[in-house]
């Protein structure tokens, strides 16, 4: 016992050294010996454990807690170095020692951390339900402690500190809350693995919220995560939550580079040089927000042939008026981020774009313009040279924004101009793209260009139908648009040819429908080319017939293809029956004139 008085500071020193080795030094270990410092730390902890009984001065209870701290450290050390069974033993011993006192301020934090680590350990063994049990019990313990006591509990490391070094209440609280934040974060992952996606998202949201509350975040990282969470909400069509996440992301991101917030020492510093990229990423999340909001609105408003349904529009407008009063209530229900100062900026940010469905062109245009601004912002970083796929996806989104805006536009001429804008942005990027490396994107662009030309032709026809007489200019325009549509469908079909330029005998499942639809559309297009020359018309009808016949023959040869294009096939069969007769008639007419 004589050694005890002099020995205790030395023991504490050893313990501290082990912690430094484990948390700080180990990051610098060479790649060839990744665990060098962890192994040294382990040796030190073993020594402390040996010394412990001799250096004791506070009786059995204190000794037990200190032992538990060591068992915990050893347990984490072993799991960190891929020795799970040994790790489990140590952690179990830790919780056994603490069990009777787990609700005391001395032990509660350590107990929660031990359970966190047992959760991690069992997840590594693919026993996720066991992990869940540990983590949920940690969550329950936190809640019970906060209800019954609530004072900032001791941090485990304090059991190896001299009295004068002990932490302030503020620091204790921060560390305790951090341990609990980890519990929630691990639970989020557990729920994710168990396919409880909504619960997982809720826990992620809470984790983000707590990071903000306890200043445990890097602005850039946090903003990126909040922006990502917004994309989850988009998929659930929760536009208010999505917007809240994005607005918070933008606000917090603007803090980057300013005063760095108090940070966890054990987490690595994020890369400041990536700021423009991060900013552009958040912009892209905003683009998707605008796009999804508009597209969802379109889905609500369209009639059975994809046009705006005015009755539906009136109905939804009336409904919205009613709901406006309840909006405030919903607002409170949403999980709001941040303290009051951040809240104001977030609210201001939110006001820049609506989170309710746009129901007419004016409203749609406002959302469109916000989206378009973010397109410009995102493109500043994601330039085509160096970021081909990213750049193109942004352009495709831009095109999609125009497409959905056109839905709200009543005037056909202006609608047509919007589609022309799409063509103008898609054609040049397609032209520069090497299909050897970007085959899938090339195919997407070919299809989108073909469809857009088709749409424009369709609009020109509608415009033409309103005229007294179809003038030659409109006819020319219609034909040229149809030819372009055909060109891009053909390019798509050509992309399916193998390197020997042969069209595949049997189409891969993944391109079957697109290829058939392209053939079908080309068939239609040839049937629609306007010509006063009967011979030319016969040729077009013949070509049209050949494309319809392709569909019919292919499905005869490969009956499993039928399910992919049932309706198209049925119509093609009819056309294959009817076209020869119509052609016959036309021929008869031509000869009778001759």
């Amino acid at each position: 016992m004589a050694a005890a008085g002099a020995g205790w500071p030395a023991v504490c020193e050893k313990f501290r050294a082990a912690r430094t080795l484990s948390a700080v030094e180990s990051l610098k270990d060479p790649e060839t010996e990744p665990y060098r410092s962890k192994y040294s730390a382990r040796a030190l902890l073993q020594e402390v454990k040996q010394l412990l009984s001799a250096a004791e001065e506070g009786g059995e209870a204190v000794l037990a807690v200190r032992r538990a701290v060591l068992e915990y450290e050893l347990g984490v050390n072993h799991t960190d170095t891929e020795e799970l069974s040994a790790g489990e033993e140590h952690l179990q011993r830790c919780t056994q020692l603490l069990e009777p006192h787990r609700l005391s301020p001395d032990c509660v934090s350590l107990y929660i951390q031990a359970q966190n680590n047992l959760g991690i350990l069992w997840s590594q063994r693919d026993e996720i339900e066991t992990a869940q049990t540990y983590l949920e019990s940690a969550e329950a313990l936190y809640n019970q402690y906060m209800k019954e006591d609530g004072n900032p509990p001791l941090d485990p490391s304090e059991h190896f500190m001299a009295e004068e070094e002990k932490l302030t209440d503020q620091e204790r609280s921060k560390r305790f809350e951090k341990a609990y934040t980890h519990t929630l974060y691990y639970l989020a992952q557990v729920y994710q693995h168990l396919d409880m996606i909504e619960k997982a998202a809720q826990y992620c949201h809470t984790t983000l919220k707590r990071q903000l509350e306890y200043c445990g975040y890097y602005p850039v990282e946090w903003a990126r995560n909040a922006a990502t969470l917004s994309q989850y909400y988009l998929s659930k069509e929760c536009f208010m939550e999505a917007r809240h996440c994005l607005a918070a992301a933008s606000v917090i991101f603007s803090q980057a580079g300013q005063v760095p917030s108090a940070e966890d020492a054990d987490e690595t510093e994020p890369d400041q040089q990536d700021l423009p990229e991060r900013k552009a990423e958040i912009a892209r999340c905003w683009i998707k927000y605008c796009l999804n909001l508009l597209q969802s609105a379109r889905k609500l408003l369209e009639d059975n042939i994809g046009e705006l349904d005015p009755d539906r529009q009136l109905e939804l407008k009336a409904q919205r008026k009613k709901e406006e009063d309840e909006k405030e209530k919903g607002r409170k229900k949403a999980v709001l981020f941040g303290t009051s100062d951040i809240c104001d900026s977030v609210l201001a940010m939110e006001e820049k774009v609506s989170s309710v469905y746009p129901l007419d062109f004016q409203e749609a245009r406002e959302v469109f313009l916000v989206g378009q601004n973010y397109v410009q912002e995102a493109k500043e970083f994601f330039q085509v040279d160096g970021y081909v796929t990213d750049h193109i996806e942004i352009v495709q989104d831009h095109s999609a924004l125009f497409k959905v805006l056109a839905f709200f536009e009543e005037d056909y001429e202006r609608r047509c101009k919007m589609h022309k804008r799409r063509i103008d942005m898609l054609e040049p990027i397609y032209a520069d793209l090497n299909p050897q490396y970007y085959l899938l994107i090339c195919r997407q662009l070919q299809c989108e260009l073909a469809d857009t030309y088709y749409e424009m032709m369709d609009l020109k026809v509608a415009i033409g139908n309103r005229l007294e007489k179809l003038d030659s200019h409109t006819v020319k325009k219609i034909n040229s648009l149809a030819q372009f549509a055909i060109k891009y469908y053909e390019l798509f079909l050509d992309s399916l040819r193998n390197p020997d330029k042969v069209f595949p005998e049997k189409l891969e499942e993944d391109v079957l429908r697109p290829a058939m639809v392209a053939k079908f559309h080309i068939a239609r297009l040839y049937g629609k080319l306007i010509t006063s020359d009967s011979k030319k018309q016969l040729e077009n009808m013949q070509t049209s017939l050949e494309y319809y016949t392709f569909l019919v023959d292919y499905c005869e040869k490969y009956p499993d293809a039928v399910s992919a294009i049932e309706t198209e096939l049925e119509l093609s069969k009819e056309m294959v029956n009817l076209l020869p007769a119509s052609m016959e008639r036309l021929r008869a007419k031509v000869s009778s004139f001759a």
């Binding site: 891929e82 590594q124 988009l234 050897q436 198209e568």
Partner: protein, 440 residues
């Protein structure tokens, strides 16, 4: 044909009894967990688990009648690789397996022997790089060890994905290739831990670009293709803290809040109707079955990813994306050891390899129902039918057969045709492809 062919190669039977046997294209593994019980009659679990693949090779003991020599493996796999590349396919050969099961040897050995045949006909540029912890390093550069991983991956519209600053080597003879390969392999990272002596924790990619000059219709032309030989990190479990930026395999929980973003992005990804397609990232996270087993649904609307997940593909996926799907051929060689001591690794490698066929990005079509088109086409068909029927009626009716009436008929018909042509401009709703861009 299938995009991915999977071959299983067994070698080196050190460390206990042999528990794997090969029967044609099936690999059977004895379950040692069941097997070890003295009386397992009450145990309902299967004693053997069978996996079938495109090829299985037994390369353990040369005396064995079933023994598959390297030459045989080369014959099957190397030939198909090179003939594909020769015709202009992008080729990707992936080797996956436990450290020490011979994957590096197989991978790096196969192409080299075969490229000899090509050296007179093709011009090859080679690059060799290593990806470690999502950072890229040039294995063919006399680099200083201080800044080993600073290379950035980028894309060029004409020349595809590339690593900025990576050295390229023009190779003229076989010796040079071998020398470069050996140099590169020697520089790869291996880590010594208490569990593994030399575990390769990095992916290595050896890329051969080559162009052949050919005559097409008497005009000089060229065929360019690319072979990627990928030696994936050892399938033994790596310490999660070693891949901080990646979500770790299986049901693992990521420890550090640094990975929160990845967790959220996985959530966002999974909850999307068109969650983008499989990525080869699952290669690095052995058999994360939830992802591998659930191919994305065909979906019912939307042309591309409806949401943006601001986490990049893993560098591996990024660099190989032009070699997966489309006009490319992919072969995975999974190497396992038949010894009982490797049971766990063998099982996870086989499970992973069995899922490898799902790693290809497949474009998805937009299934927007073409209601408008269909409706209008139906109308046209009805109109044509009526028109033709009336034509027949008129033809069979004698009163319509005289000249004057005939002319009138023609006039009417002419107008009809015009009306039809205009009416029949149908609106087609789009059917673009949903491109699968994987998230790793």
């Amino acid at each position: 044909h299938c995009f991915v062919q999977v071959a299983i190669l067994l070698s080196r039977a050190e460390g206990g009894r042999v528990i794997v046997e090969v029967d044609d294209k099936v690999a059977k593994v004895r379950n040692i967990k069941v097997d070890s019980r003295l009386d397992s009659s009450w145990d309902s679990r299967e004693k053997t688990v069978a996996f079938s693949f495109d090829y299985c090779y037994w390369s353990v003991d040369p005396e064995d009648p079933k023994y598959a020599s390297q030459e045989m493996v080369f014959q099957d796999l190397g030939t198909s690789v090179l003939s594909g590349a020769f015709r202009g396919y992008n080729i990707c050969l992936l080797a996956y397996g436990q450290t020490g099961s011979g994957k590096t040897y197989t991978m790096m050995g196969t192409p080299v022997s075969y490229t000899i045949h090509f050296k007179l006909r093709v011009e090859g540029r080679r690059i060799f790089l290593e990806i470690y912890n999502e950072r890229v390093r040039d294995l063919l550069k006399q680099s200083d060890r201080k800044k080993p991983y600073t290379l950035r991956v980028r894309e060029h519209p004409e020349t595809g994905p590339y690593v900025q600053g990576l050295t390229q080597h023009l190779v003229t003879d076989y010796k040079q290739v071998v020398k470069l390969l050996e140099e590169g392999i020697a520089k790869r990272i291996t880590a010594a831990t208490h569990i593994h002596n030399a575990s390769s924790r990095s992916h290595a990619i050896f890329t051969i670009h080559y162009t052949q000059a050919i005559l097409e219709n008497n005009l000089p032309s060229e065929i360019a293709s690319k072979i990627n030989l990928v030696d994936l990190a050892g399938s033994e479990r790596a310490d999660p803290s070693y891949c901080k930026d990646r979500i770790t395999e299986g049901a693992n929980i990521n420890k550090s809040l640094v990975t929160l973003g990845i967790v959220i992005s996985t959530l966002a990804q999974n909850s999307q109707m068109f969650s983008s397609c499989q990525s080869i990232n699952t290669l690095t996270s052995e058999g994360e079955s939830s992802r591998v087993d659930s191919p994305p649904s065909g979906g019912s609307s939307g042309t591309r990813r409806p949401a943006y997940i601001p986490y990049r593909d893993s560098i591996l996926t990024w660099l190989l994306k032009d070699s997966l799907g489309g006009n490319s051929k992919t072969i995975m060689i999974a190497t396992i050891s038949p010894a009982s001591s490797s049971y766990n690794e063998t099982m996870s490698t086989l499970r992973y390899a069995a899922n490898a066929k799902n790693i290809i990005n497949k474009p998805r079509v937009n299934e927007d129902a073409n209601v408008k088109l269909i409706r209008e086409l139906r109308e046209e068909i009805d109109r044509l039918k009526t028109m033709l029927m009336s034509f027949e009626l008129r033809n069979s009716s004698p009163s319509w057969s005289d000249d004057r009436d005939g002319n009138l008929t023609e006039l009417v018909l002419q107008n009809e045709i015009k009306v039809c042509t205009i009416y029949l401009m149908l609106k087609l709703s789009p059917a673009p492809l949903g491109q699968g861009i994987p998230l790793l």
